[in-house]
């Protein structure tokens, strides 16, 4: 199957010349015009031009190949990258001054070459020569301007006819397998909540009321009040004094971040969506730096067991990168899911998270669920924004403010 769809446009200049050439050849048969005269030569010459032009138009794409490799480029807004294509002409027909026209999502900007923009699509063009039996690497530098996913929507090559007065347009039939992920900007938030160790967990800490009896790392002399099951009998036998096991203090530190992308009483995306996503990105980075595990729920629908965007609990750099990728994939032109279903899922997993952060609009219907979470020992924080400053307040303070 051919890789390109071909469309030929010419203004029939050479057809006209071919007609004239036919008359020349016809007249050249008559003795009065001179047998085998130069009329015949001119006629043949014009015909040769016409046929070579015709053959060129017909066969230029026969052995032309665009090597469409899968590319995934990840970068932050403002950073620059480079898209690369390989164009190979396996045949002998050359392309002179061909234009490579590419349309792409406008959250990236391809240098100053952008030709025009309409809606969310921009177009860029690049001129190239490709001779016969030649392969060329085409690099198109770009700058990420806005969070999101940028894909090349279409690619076409416009080749001028060999002798002018026409154009052959080759449109790539398949999708360009290049994806550019622009991570969200990171907006700093004031996190003034104090960590309260309210839940038993598996994370070691210096100060906690919870201890993990399995993770003993030493012994100490017995003190009154120490439970009998903490006595280390082997050490006691060795030292002939009661020894108590010293165990790790643990707590649960993980976060659950819930992002409501909807506006109040409407399925549409909120105007503050970019701001909210930037805040989530900051929370993710903060949690990663502090080694806090976190889980993320966004009420944007997707296929799968969990019917909305969900980043499962985890920590570390890979987890952070995954979170940023999910945040980058939130398409504000797409659909939103109901936050109630997202909250219901959050409530079911909320028991394992001592801290819950809510970002976005808070509706009255959410408060009951959050209250239930608080009753299980979870602290719920709601994001507030005023005068370009963002901070989190506990649910109680929020309710008071709301009243």
């Amino acid at each position: 199957m051919k890789q390109f769809h071909k469309d030929i446009k010419n203004d029939r200049f050479y057809y006209g010349l071919a007609i004239i050439a036919s008359f020349f050849i016809f007249f050249s048969f008559f003795g009065i015009f001179g047998i085998y005269s130069s009329l015949m030569l001119i006629g043949i010459f014009l015909y040769v031009i016409y046929f070579i032009n015709h053959l060129y138009e017909k066969n230029i794409d026969r052995k032309l190949a665009l090597i469409n490799l899968r590319q995934s480029i990840r970068l932050y807004s403002g950073e620059t990258g480079q898209l690369e294509f390989h164009l190979r002409q396996n045949g002998w027909l050359p392309m002179f001054g061909a234009r490579l026209v590419m349309t792409f999502d406008s959250n990236i900007q391809m240098g100053n070459q952008s030709k025009y923009e309409s809606m969310n699509i921009s177009t860029v063009e690049k001129r190239l020569n490709l001779f016969g039996r030649e392969s060329r690497k085409i690099s198109i530098p770009f700058t990420a301007t806005k969070r999101g996913i940028a894909r090349v929507r279409s690619l076409r090559i416009e080749i001028p006819s060999l002798f002018g007065y026409g154009k052959i347009t080759l449109t790539l039939k398949e999708l360009v397998k290049a994806e550019i992920l622009v991570y969200p900007e990171i907006k700093k938030v004031h996190l003034n909540h104090r960590s309260k160790h309210q839940k038993m967990g598996e994370y070691q800490t210096n100060f906690s009321i919870f201890e993990d009896p399995i993770t003993s790392y030493g012994t100490r002399d017995y003190a009154p009040g120490d439970p009998l099951n903490r006595i280390h009998w082997k050490s006691t036998a060795k030292k002939q004094v009661f020894q108590t096991k010293v165990v790790e203090r643990v707590n649960q530190r993980s976060w659950l971040i819930l992002l409501n992308v909807r506006t109040k009483d409407s399925p549409a995306f909120t105007d503050r969506i970019e701001n909210l996503i930037s805040t989530v990105a900051y929370l993710s980075r903060y949690a990663t730096m502090k080694g806090i595990p976190y889980e993320l729920l966004i009420n944007v629908p997707k296929r799968g067991n969990v019917s909305f965007y969900h980043v499962s609990n985890g920590y570390g750099r890979d987890h952070y990168a995954h979170s940023l990728e999910v945040l980058a994939r939130v398409n504000t032109q797409g659909l939103t899911a109901s936050f109630n279903s997202c909250l219901a899922y959050g409530k079911s997993i909320g028991r394992s998270h001592p801290y819950v952060f809510h970002l976005g609009e808070v509706e009255q219907s959410f408060l009951a669920s959050y209250q239930e979470m608080e009753n299980t020992g979870t602290s719920v924080y709601v994001m507030h924004e005023r005068f370009q400053t963002t901070w989190f307040e506990s649910l109680k303070s929020h309710q008071e403010v709301a009243k």
Partner: protein, 406 residues
């Protein structure tokens, strides 16, 4: 650089035209003309123009072009051209240079080429009727013109590409000179091969005519007799007067027959060629019209790079059944109505994107979007109030679209 190359090759094409005209004007009056003097005249004029331009730092006035014209005239006169012809050359070439200087984007290639071909033919006719042996040379200017055009076009296109994309200079030059040379070689080869082709065609024509039962026709006999008698005709000096007179009469008769036989064959060949071209073009025009129509439609889609309209194809539309749900059906009807007026929703577009594309406020129609999506994707039912609200907003949306159309 690119504009410079364009101007140079266009100027050379113009120069070829005027050289051809002057050549035929001289040939027609039986005046011998040296082609090299015409070429020298053109090259020297172009060189003076570039020197003058460099000296004046590209700030040339009309005065400088007048000066250029005078120099050209004097040089042509010195090269031995008639004063009238020298004036024509000087004026024409100076005018073309001034045109490319003041309007570098001037592109009159096609006009000049067509003029050259037609004018060349009509100037060639009187010269060939007068059996002037130099008549053929004039037409070679057309060859030169097209060769310059091809080379010029290839080089300008190559130069259009950014510097770092250039291949080796040698490779570029090989294409600039190789392609026109290749075309000239093919032409020369075919030209040399033409007598054999004609002979072959004649033999084939005779064979077919014989095979289909027309072998005994006078046409076939004429050709045979003509060939046989040309071979056996004795030299005129060796014949006596009575035989000579007889031969003259016979030859005159045979010539008449031969001409008419040749004419018939040529008419048949010509008619075949013309009808073949006619049929081809008729067919071709239809194809082109069809292609351009689809290309225009595709172009519109390519602007936004979307696939076909959801309801663009009427046949598809007829096949597509309306959904049973009232809510979905109402929306379906609206979409179909919009699609017929080229405002339809794309296949891969959400309702929000659609309204956004049509520059409508999505918040204003939030209920329509929400209710439709609830029913369409959530497979839920609406209350009577919600249905009423939905229908009202949908009607409002349709009215807004109507306003957009007007």
């Amino acid at each position: 650089m690119n504009t410079g190359i364009s101007a140079v090759y266009r100027f050379l094409i113009d120069a070829c035209l005027i050289m051809m005209v002057i050549y035929f004007l001289n040939v027609d009056v039986g005046r011998e003309i040296n082609v090299s003097s015409l070429v020298i005249s053109t090259i020297v004029l172009a060189l003076i123009y570039f020197i003058l331009k460099q000296l004046l730092n590209g700030r040339m006035l009309l005065f400088h072009f007048v000066l250029l014209g005078v120099i050209s005239f004097m040089m042509n006169a010195w090269l031995g051209l008639l004063l009238f012809h020298a004036t024509i050359i000087a004026i024409f070439l100076t005018w073309r240079l001034a045109l490319y200087y003041f309007k570098p984007d001037t592109n009159q290639e096609k006009g000049i080429l067509i003029t050259s071909v037609l004018l060349g033919f009509f100037l060639y006719l009187p010269a060939i009727f007068l059996e002037n042996p130099d008549a053929h040379t004039g037409l070679y200017f057309i060859l030169v013109q097209f060769t310059i055009l091809i080379g010029g076009k290839i080089s300008t296109r190559m130069m259009n590409v950014e510097e770092h994309n250039h291949s080796g200079k040698a490779k570029q030059l090989s294409y600039i000179f190789g392609v026109p040379s290749g075309i000239l070689l093919i032409t020369a080869g075919l030209f040399w091969f033409t007598p054999f082709m004609i002979k072959g065609f004649y033999s084939l024509f005779s064979w077919i005519a014989y095979q289909i039962g027309l072998g005994a026709t006078p046409l076939f006999e004429w050709f045979n007799r003509q060939q046989a008698e040309i071979e056996t005709t004795p030299n005129g000096e060796q014949e006596n007067i009575s035989q000579e007179e007889q031969n003259v009469l016979e030859q005159a008769r045979e010539q008449t027959e031969t001409i008419s036989a040749e004419t018939i064959m040529y008419i048949i060949i010509g008619a075949c060629i013309i009808s073949a071209i006619g049929i081809y073009y008729r067919h071709r025009n239809r194809l082109i019209r069809k292609k351009s129509k689809t290309a225009d439609e595709e172009k519109m889609q390519m602007e936004t790079e979307k696939l076909s309209f959801r309801f663009s194809d009427l046949k598809e539309n007829l096949k597509r059944k309306a959904p049973k749900s009232e809510i979905r059906k109402a929306f379906f009807e609206l979409e179909r109505w919009a699609a017929k007026r080229k405002l339809g929703r794309y296949d891969d577009e959400t309702v929000e994107q659609w309204l956004h594309r049509l520059q409508l406020d999505t918040n204003r129609y939030a209920d329509v979007i929400d209710f439709y999506q609830t029913v369409r994707y959530g497979e839920q039912h609406l209350t009577e109030d919600e249905k009423r609200q939905y229908t009202d907003q949908l009607i409002e949306l349709k009215n807004t679209l109507k306003q957009k159309l007007t």
